[in-house]
Each structure stands twice: as structure tokens, then as C-alpha cells.
């Protein structure tokens, strides 16, 4: 195994030549279908550069085969969803709940789920304003969060097939997503609204809330039965949830490994990709498990043997996923490593109880949702991450125009300051605004310098 390093797409292009043909042919998704050439996905970033993902020219990637596989898997999701449809599978869009309802969706046979919300990455990956402009023409301008890109995608009809059903979560979640769904409905998408109520943290009895959520799950289950023409099967559900639980444990294990004491064993962007697998398993639960298992094995090997990236010593927790992955690369260049994260997907972390009634178990897990509760709940999640990972500092990458950032950022910052944790907070800027982006870079530089100085002072 080669020394862990972060390399660029050029280096990966050449390195890829050494990947055995056998492996390129073997690694594929939808293994339950007859083998087709389109199902291979072990390809280097340069492939996706050619197809317009311009940011990949600037990013740094881990040099392991496991990371290559993860990237290939993530980048092929768009095509995969189309192939699912071509192969006669039902395609369910899930919006707004960020990973809580997908276990139920996948417990139906011949079905895939995907997250249109996640297209908020696309404008950044492509360094393009196309989808934002499209959303703008439909009424969602710059005062709406980046998730408006997914409305652009709904409108263009070129990013995913028409979903057989779109599960849209409303209520105690982002308003922006709710608006996107409402507009998508205008475009002819069949939407099932999943009402997520506000969770009173701490002081109230959760039974009523849990009962309410169970009802929501039952209703959703009925809609899925209608959409698929299949009956819900508790056995299949249990089987699916076992896999989902395995994935959740894997993700937790990998997250822990990222804090390995000797050196950072993995890049922050890869870690983020890995963590987001919890949302919809990138459209293939079984293959996703295989990808993450290989990824975990590598991380474990590196952590145990003290291998990792050199000169990345500042331990950081990242709060709110940055739509622009370049920012993560940049902090690594400045000597930082991301050892913890709070990406608003806490609902994807609990192990679902397979002994309970399915809907009760799902509701119980759902109650952990980051967005459902008060800002204080999220502040505590962040603090808990920081303490557990012994972080030197925190970076909050906000999203302008979202319905939670304007309110949450201030309390998170103040809670961290009270604990003496340095924090850098900024809003990610949309592609094409270079001057603003360089300001963020400058602030990151200053932040990393001050953290280094602080570390030195403390050591001395």
C-alpha cells in the first residue's frame, strides 16, 4: 500500500493506468442486474472533468483505491438513477428530511431513493451558475439557499428521471426545501408531504411526538405501496434496516478513525462524501456498503499503522456541510485536518431498533433529527463533537438565505467562545464570485495562523 497522499486529478489520471483492468471491470453497481458496461464506476476524477465537473481540476484527492472507488461511486449517482429507471426500478425522490425516511423506501423491492437536495453541490462542482439562474427564473433567487439548484434541476429534467414519487418533508425543516418542493409540484412531480413537527427539546414528553411520527411513517408506507404496487413486508424491512444499521455503524467507525492521533488518515472531502452516504446510499445500498467497508478497512489500516497526511496538525470540527468542497481542501493546505463534523444529518446516526414495530423504530430514530429541534440542541451536538475530538477550532460554513443559519450561527459561536474554542464562521459564496471567495481564503489563512500560534504558546 502506498503512502497516503493527496494528489490532483492529473496524478490520478496517470495512476489509474496501474489499476488492474480486472478491477475496473469488477467494480460495479446494481449487481443484482445482468452485468452491463454502464454499471462500472471505478473511474478517476479526470473522467468527470471531461463531463463538465470543472471544480475537480482544483481539488485534491486521496491516493488510495478505496477513495477512488468512493469518488467514482459518488460521481456516478446521477447516471445510476437513470439506469435504475431503465432497468424498471421505481425511483423515489426524498427531500428535506435528510436521511430519515430512506430506510423505509429501500425496504420496498426494486426501488431506489435519491436526494434532489444534494444537487446543491452541482453548481459548485461544475463551477456553473446554470442551475441557480434557472431557479432564479422560476422565482427562487439569491435570497433562497443553495438548495434552489435542485429546483433548477427539476425544471431542466436532465439530472434525474421523473420520480415515481417525491417525498417532501415540511414543517420543522428548512423553508427553502419546502419552497423547492412546492415549485417542483408545479412542474408535475407527484409529491407526498411528510409533515415533520417541531420537537421540544428536554422538557416535554416525547410519546405524543413519536406517535405522530409513526402515523406519518404509516401514511408514507401506504403511498409507497401505491407507487410501487408492492405490499410492505416487515421481513424485508428488517433485512433492509440491518443493512442500514451496518452502514450507520460503519460511518460512525470511520468518523472516529478520522481523529487518529498520529496523522490525518483521510481527506475532509472524502470524509464528507462518506458521511453523506447515509442519506440515500447514493442509490445502491448494497454497493454503498461495499464501498464504505473498503474505505473503513483502509482507514483502519492507516490509523493503526500511524499513516496519514503530513503537516496537517490543526484539529478542526466542521459545522454545516460546505457546498464548495474546495474550502475543505484549502484548510488542509493550511495545515488543518477535519476530525469532526455536524452536517445537520444527526437523524442518520442512530441504530434503528429491529425488535420494535417498524414505524415506531423509524420514528424513534427520526427524533434525533438535527433540524427538528431547537438551535440549542444543535449547539450541543457541535459542542459534543468538539469535546470528543479534542478540536483546536471550529469552522462554520454557513449558507446565505437558508432558514436556519441566520439564527443558529450566533448561538453556536457564543457557546464555543464560552468554552474557549476558537471559531471561524463565514458564508460559502456561490460559484463565479471569486473576489468574495478570496476573502474567505484570507480569513482561513488568518484563522489557521492564529490556531498554530495558540498551539505553540500552549505547548511552550
Amino acid at each position: 500500500m502506498t503512502e497516503p497522499r493527496q494528489i490532483d486529478f492529473r496524478q490520478w489520471h496517470r495512476l489509474f493506468q496501474q489499476v488492474p483492468d480486472r478491477l475496473v471491470e469488477e467494480i460495479r453497481y446494481y449487481r443484482h442486474l445482468p452485468q452491463a458496461e454502464w454499471s462500472q464506476y471505478l473511474f478517476p476524477p479526470s473522467t468527470h472533468v471531461v463531463y463538465g465537473n470543472r471544480l475537480l481540476r482544483k481539488l485534491k484527492f486521496d491516493n488510495s483505491q478505496a477513495a477512488l472507488r468512493l469518488w467514482g461511486f459518488v460521481m456516478s449517482e446521477g447516471e445510476r438513477i437513470y439506469r435504475a429507471r431503465q432497468a424498471g426500478m421505481k425511483v423515489i425522490a426524498v427531500m428535506g428530511d435528510l436521511g430519515a425516511v430512506t430506510p423505509l423506501v429501500y425496504s420496498f423491492p426494486n426501488i431506489v431513493a435519491f436526494y434532489p437536495d444534494c444537487l446543491w453541490w452541482t453548481p459548485f462542482l461544475m463551477e456553473s451558475r446554470e442551475l441557480f439562474d434557472e431557479a432564479g427564473q422560476l422565482g427562487l433567487g439569491e435570497d433562497c439557499c443553495f438548495v434552489r439548484a435542485s429546483l433548477g434541476a427539476f425544471s431542466r429534467k436532465a439530472y434525474f428521471p421523473k420520480p415515481d414519487l417525491c417525498v417532501g418533508t415540511v414543517g420543522a425543516t428548512c423553508d427553502d426545501m419546502a419552497t423547492v418542493m412546492s415549485e417542483a409540484e408545479q412542474l408535475g412531480v407527484d409529491i407526498h408531504y411528510f409533515e415533520l413537527p417541531h420537537r421540544h427539546d428536554g422538557d416535554t414528553d416525547k410519546t405524543a411526538l413519536s406517535g405522530y411520527l409513526e402515523n406519518q411513517y404509516q401514511e408514507l408506507c401506504r403511498r409507497l405501496e401505491q407507487a410501487t404496487g408492492e405490499t410492505f413486508s416487515p421481513d424485508r424491512f428488517r433485512e433492509t434496516v440491518q443493512k442500514v444499521n451496518r452502514m450507520r455503524s460503519l460511518i460512525a467507525e470511520i468518523k472516529d478513525l478520522s481523529g487518529a492521533p498520529a496523522a490525518s488518515p483521510m481527506g475532509a472531502v472524502e470524509m464528507m462524501n462518506m458521511e453523506f452516504a447515509a442519506l440515500s446510499y447514493y442509490g445502491d445500498l448494497d454497493e454503498c456498503l461495499a464501498v464504505l467497508t473498503e474505505f473503513r478497512d483502509l482507514m483502519k489500516f492507516r490509523a493503526n499503522s500511524g499513516q496519514g497526511y503530513q503537516n496537517q496538525d490543526l484539529r478542526l470540527v466542521w459545522v454545516t456541510p460546505p457546498a464548495d468542497p474546495l474550502l475543505m481542501n484549502y484548510i488542509e493546505e493550511l495545515g488543518g485536518r477535519v476530525v469532526g463534523s455536524e452536517y445537520l444529518i444527526h437523524q442518520t446516526t442512530p441504530i434503528i431498533d429491529t425488535k420494535k414495530d417498524p414505524f415506531e423504530a423509524l420514528a424513534e430514530a427520526h427524533l434525533k433529527a438535527t433540524l427538528m429541534g431547537s438551535s440549542a440542541y444543535r449547539v450541543n451536538l457541535v459542542i459534543e463533537q468538539v469535546e470528543r475530538t479534542h478540536a483546536d477550532g471550529v469552522i462554520i460554513s454557513g449558507v446565505f438565505g437558508s432558514s436556519h443559519c441566520p439564527y443558529e450561527t450566533a448561538p453556536i459561536i457564543s457557546a464555543l467562545r464560552q468554552k474557549g474554542i476558537p471559531v471561524l464562521s463565514f458564508d460559502v459564496v456561490a460559484p463565479g464570485k471569486r473576489r468574495l471567495q478570496s476573502q474567505i481564503f484570507n480569513r482561513m489563512e488568518a484563522f489557521s495562523e492564529s490556531l498554530k500560534a495558540r498551539k505553540k504558546r500552549r505547548a511552550g
Binding site: Q40, T47, G52, R54, E127, E130, E134, S155
Partner: protein
């Protein structure tokens, strides 16, 4: 207008076996762009910045759905040492081939695309176009196939005779040409372009089916296999008459076939279930002097093209003539843009 796909989106759907709102419209606007941009061809062929700006300017004028990086088919042979002739207002042409004796072949190696010949011109052009418009427009780098490059290294007549008289030497030359093509393709990819393989000399107007099979196809196949390893969709363009070899084209592995003199229906019959077709209004129809009806010609091509099961790209059979009449090209493009597949959703 909301909901209108951009070229990148249209191509992406086509390449994963989904029908977009309509076929992409991609006439092969190459050196004609220099005329639109009002620059000398010599500048166009030697200055990546000018090539890029001219392509972008022509695309803005016509609104066709892809950028083309192409000056001449000798680009690789020149970088390897053949002398090409560059003069004002003219496309570079082979002047003196490098390999005057087949014994010299053994010393040949692939060129360094970043320094040799005009390969850096291509790379700069691609890089600039990709940065300027790569999010919405695919960029096609026209890469000469080994057969054509070998002819450029050896001289056309000599190489064609080699295929009869010294087949082993021909194969040796093809091997090194293949390596060169791969090296150059890789750099073009890294700059952001999708290689489009052109093999004008492997045309049915020049060589037999047998010669094609033995000397051209197998190298096209190897080059395509290299690109497929990276999951890239490859367009193969062969000029002239290809009607006698249509059935062999799928064996190259090409994902798209851009063709000149063969009708769309026969091409559909021969490969429509496996290969996307790109074609094929006769370029001379776009000349000011031509009285060929562009409207009629395009309509009939489009009608046949829409039926190709693997998808279709409306194009010209070969390069748009330098002196193409703008109005005629607009006509072709408008017809393409008004065509429709069934409603996407």
C-alpha cells in the same frame, strides 16, 4: 426560458441512453470559426488563445452545441517530426514526411504534447474554452487516429503502399502512432476535452474493407479501448464514403459514429441499436454557390435520425466549409433546434 436544456445536459442524457428534449445540434464548425472571428488561418492554427476565442465567437453566432478543437489531421505527425506547411489563409498541410525509409520507424516515440509541434496550441485552446464555457458546452478535441497519423509520418502514397508491400512496417508505424494518440488524448482530457477520433484516410473512398479491418479498425479499437477504460464516450469520425464498412464500425467500440457519405437509414440498419449517429448534411451544401436545398436535406436527415434507437446528433458530414454561408448554417441549426423527441417527463 425556464426548462430549456443546455447543450451539456442534452449530450449527457444522450450518452446514458436517455432521450433529451431533442437531438443535440453539432455541425463540425472547425476552421470556419476563423472566418467568423475574422482572423488568419495561420493564427487560428498556431495560437491557442485565438483558436479558443474564434470557436467561442462562432458558437455565440450560431448557437450550435459543442466546441471543436481542430486545425488539421497532421497535428500529431507534425509533433513527431513531419514537416507541415503553414502559410497565411491556409490550413497546414503535409510538406515532407518524417519517415523516408521504413527503417527509421524503430527510433520513433510519442511526442511531448506540452512542448512539441502545435499540440500545445490545442491544449491551450481547450483549457481556455473549458474555463470559459465548459459547464454548458462539451468540448471535442479532434484526434487523428493512428492510420491517418501514420500516413502523415510516412507520406500518404508511401504509407498506403506500405500496407500492401511492407505490412509489418506499416504496423510498426501504426503502433507508435497509437501511442502518440493515447499520449495526446490524455492531455486533451486533462485540459477538459472529450476526444473525438478522426480518421479521414481510413475512408471507404480510399481503402478497402480488408485494409480498413487490418490497418485502421484495430488501432481505432485500441484507442477507443484506452478511452473506454476511463469511461469516456467516443465519437469516431470517418470522412468520405463509409457505406461499405458500416457493419464494421461497431467493432471499433465507438459510442458515436460521425459519418459523411452514407445515408442515415443504412447507418441505422447497420448499427442503430448500438451506436449513436452523428450526421450528415453534405458540407458543400453550405457553400454560397451551392444550390442544394439545406432545408430539404436537413429535414430528411433529421427525419431519419430521430428514428435511430441509440440517439442522434444533427451534424454535417464533414467540416463546415471555411467559406460557409452563415445563413445556410443557421437554417441547418434552426431545423435541428425545432426537432423534438417525445416529452421528456
Amino acid at each position: 426560458m425556464p426548462g430549456k436544456m443546455n447543450p451539456r445536459e442534452r449530450w449527457s442524457l444522450l450518452l446514458i441512453d436517455e432521450l433529451p428534449d431533442r437531438p443535440p445540434v453539432y455541425p463540425l464548425v472547425t476552421c470556419h470559426a476563423a472566418r467568423v472571428y475574422n482572423c488568419d488561418l495561420i493564427e487560428y492554427c498556431t495560437d491557442g488563445r485565438i483558436l479558443a476565442e474564434a470557436q467561442l465567437e462562432a458558437q455565440r453566432l450560431y448557437g450550435h452545441e459543442g466546441l471543436s478543437v481542430f486545425t488539421d489531421v497532421g497535428i500529431i505527425a507534425e509533433a513527431m517530426g513531419s514537416k507541415y506547411h503553414l502559410r497565411e489563409f491556409e490550413v497546414p498541410i503535409l510538406d515532407s514526411p518524417l519517415i523516408t525509409d521504413t527503417a527509421m520507424i524503430g527510433e520513433l516515440g510519442p511526442p511531448d504534447p506540452t512542448t512539441q509541434g502545435r499540440l500545445p496550441v490545442y491544449l491551450e485552446a481547450i483549457d481556455r474554452m473549458y474555463s470559459a464555457a465548459g459547464d454548458v458546452l462539451p468540448i471535442f478535441a479532434f484526434i487523428p487516429c493512428p492510420f491517418t497519423t501514420a500516413a502523415g509520418l510516412r507520406g500518404v502514397d508511401n504509407f498506403l503502399m506500405d500496407t500492401v508491400l511492407e505490412p509489418q512496417a506499416a504496423h510498426d508505424l501504426l503502433d507508435v502512432s497509437l501511442k502518440s494518440a493515447i499520449t495526446f488524448c490524455d492531455e486533451c482530457i486533462l485540459a477538459g476535452a472529450l476526444p473525438m477520433l478522426v480518421d479521414p484516410l481510413a475512408s471507404g473512398s480510399v481503402i478497402s474493407r480488408t485494409t480498413y479491418s487490418h490497418f485502421a479498425k484495430s488501432y481505432q479499437q485500441k484507442l477507443i479501448a484506452h478511452l473506454h477504460r476511463y469511461d469516456l464516450d467516443v465519437t469516431l469520425h470517418i470522412c468520405g464514403d463509409t457505406s461499405n464498412m458500416l457493419d464494421l464500425i461497431p467493432q471499433t467500440g465507438a459510442d458515436l459514429f460521425s459519418f459523411d457519405l452514407a445515408d442515415v437509414d443504412s447507418a441505422t440498419d447497420a448499427m442503430g441499436d448500438r451506436v449513436r449517429l452523428v450526421g450528415n448534411l453534405p458540407p458543400h451544401g453550405l457553400l454560397p454557390s451551392s444550390n442544394l436545398s439545406v432545408t430539404q436535406g436537413t429535414n430528411s436527415i433529421m427525419e431519419m435520425g430521430l428514428k435511430n434507437p441509440k440517439g442522434f446528433v444533427l451534424s454535417t458530414g464533414c467540416e463546415v466549409p471555411i467559406r460557409c454561408e452563415a445563413q445556410k448554417l443557421h437554417t441547418l441549426i434552426n431545423i435541428g433546434k425545432n426537432a423534438r423527441y417525445e416529452e421528456v417527463w
